[in-house]
């Protein structure tokens, strides 16, 4: 049954409503929104003078109007202790989205916690500790004391290596520069925690080491480049669903030809046409459909590649482009490696800590790489791949590979270099042979001179926004410890978890959950047995339990998560909008989201929770007589989030000295593009494109090419899994579901559409298995099992399914085996399993639409 809100009117925003800048905190795009709030007992009127829009609202408003908002954009929330009306609507003046909202971001208001309207009551409001066999609300002092007592005992009796930490490294949501600094200063400054992992993967590593090692930070272009490119090449990404308004507001206009005048104006000396697009994906996504509808099928080249063979395609394209003489030789000569002896370490550039303007986003980066990084000539020689060999391995038509090479690099009329922008995401990042595949793609961009120039760029399209500034992580090492696997093997005694839900988003998840439940239960039992004892006796009991193989788990989050079921202490955090928060988007555009409402109960910003842990550690260690160690936990006396920003970003981020809250506030939803390079009055001057000067992020400023030799399925266990199971279980995200559904699991509109994760299956497979649309099926292999709801479509090929990732109602990670690449990057995309029917369509599924997702005007 289609969910309906039965709302037929909304309060009108008055002319004098308070207005705050909001950057959508969901996906990487970072669309601008405005938050309007006003007292609960007032409202605007329909007369132009009585409402925020200054228009007559007694009349129908038309297409693309700014003078309307949907029920999902409205709520009643607490602000400075009082109930207020809140509308959060897209900002027409933001250059990122120009007034577009998406199905995720335009539900921001509805996904705020409200005791009045009853939304998001799942938010945590008070610290809780495990006491008398369940979680009991308690004070911050009590909860933080227990965390510090146990943590201090464990790291002093053993070492800091016994403290495991899972912590977000992203912007937006509850991330951002303030919170990554607060947590980073605790674990990498006061301590040197080595066994640490990031929110979505089992180690503390970059997802794109290769491009960074080559000297090319992964967010190197501007969204405008998608409007200026002759050709866009997109690999393993589905931007209509996962970078929605970037695609709609910047790619589509180029494919439509709507940016031609801009192209002519900005690049007057060369011929221009409407953009064309190459899409590399084993599945026909809605992005393919939208591009075809917009540009005409003749301007869209969908390369429906065999899963995991992308590197071979890139090598063949490089070979063909070089053999045709279409490379940018000037660029190669002047801006890439010169040859001679290139020791791997020379090639690496400095070990980056928190700063480093040439390598945004600031991310983990330490030494050692799995393959040679070298000159163009050597990479070309060693990567050389014929069109025929590539066609054989990739399953593509040879003519299509040649056509792709032409679209990427064949000079335009008059001999002008073709401008090609390359975008990629999880299809190769969480795919086969991450390092070499990423490197082989960046090779293409470097060889054709497409980095640092208008209409170019070789960029990851991104998931979350970024907001990373932390003390150096060099002590973590490379490869970084495979934390989730170490936990399975009994590693760690205390686990601090910051906004990570391994239960929904790790690989080998079946085994991880089994062990984590067992180890944390050992501690719960010890705590239960110590009921009625003193704090000292309780800590003794916990320490004894962790020494016997248990794990003490501290969970900091905005909701009670799945992994939080194992926690012994739960600490409530606030998120974007409930604190001031800075982040940058996929073109490094930095904005300040202003606090427009109160956090739930006594929830705190993560950075201030980290400070609370540090202060309690200092006190407890002092009481233990460890005064030297205790002194390391000083420097956390921040009073406000802005203090954290000034301590972290301003002191440690390249260009940070130019950036203040006041300046960001004044620059609104357009902000500036990092890194900041100066001031023009009070306006921060940014950097639209990295490497516009041709100087890359290596020691000598010359970019490196990557040797990428084909080794088949690289990660351990993958080839065996493929050989023994019938179906490819490709997987990823959808338009409607944001990440691991942490708020959406409590949103009726979302749960109504997909009560279970869908698995897209070809009709032939349905017939073979005897299943129908909406049936629940079990997806199982030697590594685990999960469930999904059958969604028939011919946009996937027979024997190749696509399952929604990170649903709480069917965890896809259960069937991902533990094998990772050399640098501990998981491989989700190449997963094989068998499928069997579990149940006919359950009641929640009946009445759902199972029609095609492809736009078709009929």
């Amino acid at each position: 049954m289609a969910f309906k809100r039965q709302i037929d009117r909304l309060p009108i925003i008055p002319a004098n409503a308070r207005v705050n800048n909001v950057t959508c905190h969901y996906c990487i795009v970072g669309c601008g929104y405005k938050a309007y709030s006003w007292p609960i007992n007032q409202q605007g009127g329909t007369a132009a003078s009585e409402n925020w829009a200054g228009v007559d609202l007694s009349e129908q408003q038309y297409q693309d109007t700014d003078a309307w908002y949907a029920p999902s954009m409205y709520n009643v929330v607490r602000q400075d202790g009082r109930d207020v009306h809140l509308v959060i609507k897209p900002d027409v003046d933001c250059v990122v989205n120009s007034g577009l909202g998406s199905i995720r971001g335009a539900r921001m208001a509805e996904n705020r916690r409200s005791e009045v309207t009853g939304t998001q009551l799942q938010r945590l409001t008070e610290p809780m500790v495990w006491r008398y066999g369940s979680w009991q609300p308690t004070s911050w002092d009590d909860a933080l004391d227990l965390v510090a007592q146990v943590t201090a005992r464990v790291v002093t009796e053993g070492s800091e290596d016994d403290l495991y930490v899972s912590m977000f490294d992203h912007g937006g949501s509850a991330g951002g520069y303030e919170n990554t600094w607060g947590t980073g200063k605790l674990y990498f400054g006061a301590m040197k925690v080595k066994n640490v992992r990031i929110h979505n993967r089992p180690a503390y590593n970059s997802e794109v080491h290769a491009t960074r090692d080559m000297g090319v930070g992964e967010l190197n272009n501007a969204y405008e480049d998608a409007e200026l490119a002759d050709t866009i090449m997109v690999v393993g990404a589905n931007p209509l669903e996962t970078q929605t308004n970037y695609f709609l507001n910047h790619w589509i206009p180029n494919l439509q030809g709507a940016t031609l005048s801009k192209k002519r104006e900005m690049m007057p000396d060369e011929p221009h046409e409407a953009g064309r697009i190459i899409i590399v994906d084993p599945r026909r996504t809605v992005t393919v459909n939208a591009c075809e509808e917009t540009a005409g099928p003749e301007n869209v080249l969908h390369l429906q590649i065999n899963s995991g063979t992308d590197m071979v395609l890139f090598n063949a394209l490089l070979t063909h482009i070089a053999d045709q003489g279409w490379v940018d030789q000037d660029f190669i000569d002047n801006h890439t490696a010169l040859g001679g002896e290139l020791a791997a370490d020379d090639a690496m550039g400095e070990v980056a800590g928190a700063s480093g303007q040439e390598m945004l986003p600031r991310k983990p980066r330490t030494e050692g790489q799995p393959t040679d990084l070298t000159t163009f000539a050597e990479a070309l020689a060693r990567n050389r791949t014929s069109i025929e060999d590539a066609a054989e391995i990739t399953g593509l038509n040879p003519a299509d590979i040649i056509k792709a090479a032409e679209w990427i690099a064949m000079p335009k009329e008059g001999g002008f270099r073709r401008r090609t922008m390359i975008g990629y995401e999880k299809g190769i990042i969480w795919g086969n042979d991450n390092y070499r595949t990423n490197g082989a793609l960046v090779n293409l961009a470097l060889a054709t001179g497409n980095i640092g120039r208008e209409g170019g760029g070789c960029v990851r399209l991104g998931g979350h926004q970024e907001g990373y500034v932390r003390p150096s992580d060099a002590h973590v090492g490379r490869p970084a410890p495979y934390v989730d696997q170490l936990i399975i093997q009994g590693g760690g005694k205390v686990h601090h978890v910051w906004a990570c839900d391994h239960y929904k988003t790790t690989l080998n998840a079946t085994e991880f959950k089994r062990v984590y439940n067992h180890r944390t239960n050992m501690v719960k039992e010890a705590m239960d047995a110590a009921a009625g004892k003193t704090r000292e006796e309780l800590v003794d009991a916990i320490v004894a339990a962790v020494n016997a193989g248990g794990l003490f788990s501290v969970n900091v989050d905005i909701i009670h998560t799945k992994i939080g079921q194992g926690a012994h202490v739960i600490l409530p955090a606030v998120e974007s909008g409930e604190m001031d928060l800075t982040s940058m988007n996929g073109e490094r555009r930095m904005r300040l989201v202003e606090r427009y409402m109160d956090g739930p109960g006594v929830a705190q910003p993560d950075c201030l929770i980290a400070a609370g842990i540090a202060q309690n550690m200092e006190r407890v260690l002092t009481e233990m007589g460890r005064t030297d160690y205790a002194a390391q936990f000083q420097g956390f006396d921040w009073l406000t989030v802005e203090d954290v920003f000034n301590d972290g970003y301003r002191q440690n981020a390249g260009g940070g000295e130019f950036v203040t809250y006041d300046r960001l506030r004044a620059m609104g939803n357009n902000g500036f593009q990092e890194p900041a390079v100066g001031l023009d009055g009070e306006t921060i001057v940014g950097t639209p494109r990295l490497y516009a000067d041709g100087k890359f992020g290596t020691e000598d400023g010359r970019a490196l090419f990557c040797v990428a030799e084909w080794n088949g399925l690289q990660a351990p266990g993958k080839e065996e899994q493929r050989a023994n199971h019938a179906f490819l279980i490709n997987n990823g995200r959808s338009n409607i579901n944001w990440q691991n559904w942490f708020l959406d699991q409590d949103n009726e509109f979302v749960r109504d559409r997909f009560p279970y994760p869908f698995i897209q299956m070809h009709p032939d497979d349905l017939a073979e298995l005897g299943v129908a649309q909406g049936d629940l099926v079990e997806v199982w292999n030697a590594d685990g099992a999960t469930q999904a709801m059958v969604y028939p479509t011919d946009t996937v090929r027979p024997k190749e399914t696509f399952m929604l990732f990170a649903s709480p109602a069917g965890v896809q990670g259960n069937v991902i085996n533990a094998g990772v690449n050399e640098l501990v990057l998981p491989n989700y995309k190449q997963t094989w399993a068998n499928i069997r029917k579990l149940s006919a369509a359950p009641a929640t599924v009946t009445g759902l639409s199972f029609k095609s997702w492809e736009y078709d005007a009929g």
Partner: protein, 177 residues
């Protein structure tokens, strides 16, 4: 596609009767608009919806969309006889439904695809299932499509008497002074 700069274009296209689309496109002339004046309501918790005759059952042909407006002439919609009983369907076969055709994302006018009985939006590719209560099959709107509640009287006249979601472009389904 800089939204917000297209307000005028949108208005013009609607006044012209639908730029690329308009649900029925070449279908029948717009059927009756409300007898009850849709203006000057006093403020109620929920608005008082007019009861508006849209058509007679005899006017409908299976899977041929009929352009309508409801609750007033500025709010275009479509009346459909789908041929099989569906969610919210009325009439002897439980198959007569009506929906707004302004996309609840950014208000572009949608067109009806007779092959799979969906409404499709040329704005940004959203589509809604007329056989599933206007559920968004795929798209950007944060609500399913407003469906008009229908009543059929003994003569076969079909009346619209309310909507189950907020209609695009108005903060009150029944416009108020």
């Amino acid at each position: 596609m800089k939204c917000g700069k297209l307000v005028d274009v949108g208005r013009r296209s609607f006044l012209r009767g639908g730029l690329m689309t308009g649900a029925g496109v070449a279908a029948a002339a717009v059927a009756g608009t409300g007898a009850a004046p849709a203006h000057a309501q006093t403020s109620l918790a929920r608005v008082q919806n007019p009861s508006t005759r849209l058509a007679n059952l005899a006017d409908l042909v299976v899977n041929e969309p009929l352009d309508i407006t409801y609750p007033d002439e500025d709010s275009p919609g479509v009346l459909l006889k789908l041929g099989t009983p569906v969610q919210g369907g009325v009439g002897p076969d439980g198959d007569v439904v009506a929906f707004s055709v302004m996309c609840p994302h950014k208000g572009w006018l949608m067109s009806y695809n007779t092959a799979d009985k969906t409404l499709n939006c040329p704005g940004h590719f959203s589509r809604f299932d007329c056989e599933a209560g206007g559920q968004q099959v795929w798209g950007h709107a944060t609500q399913n499509l407003p469906q008009f509640q229908l009543r059929v009287d003994e003569t076969g006249d079909i009346f619209a008497e309310g909507a189950d979601e907020l209609i695009y472009g108005r903060l009150s389904n029944v416009l108020q002074a």
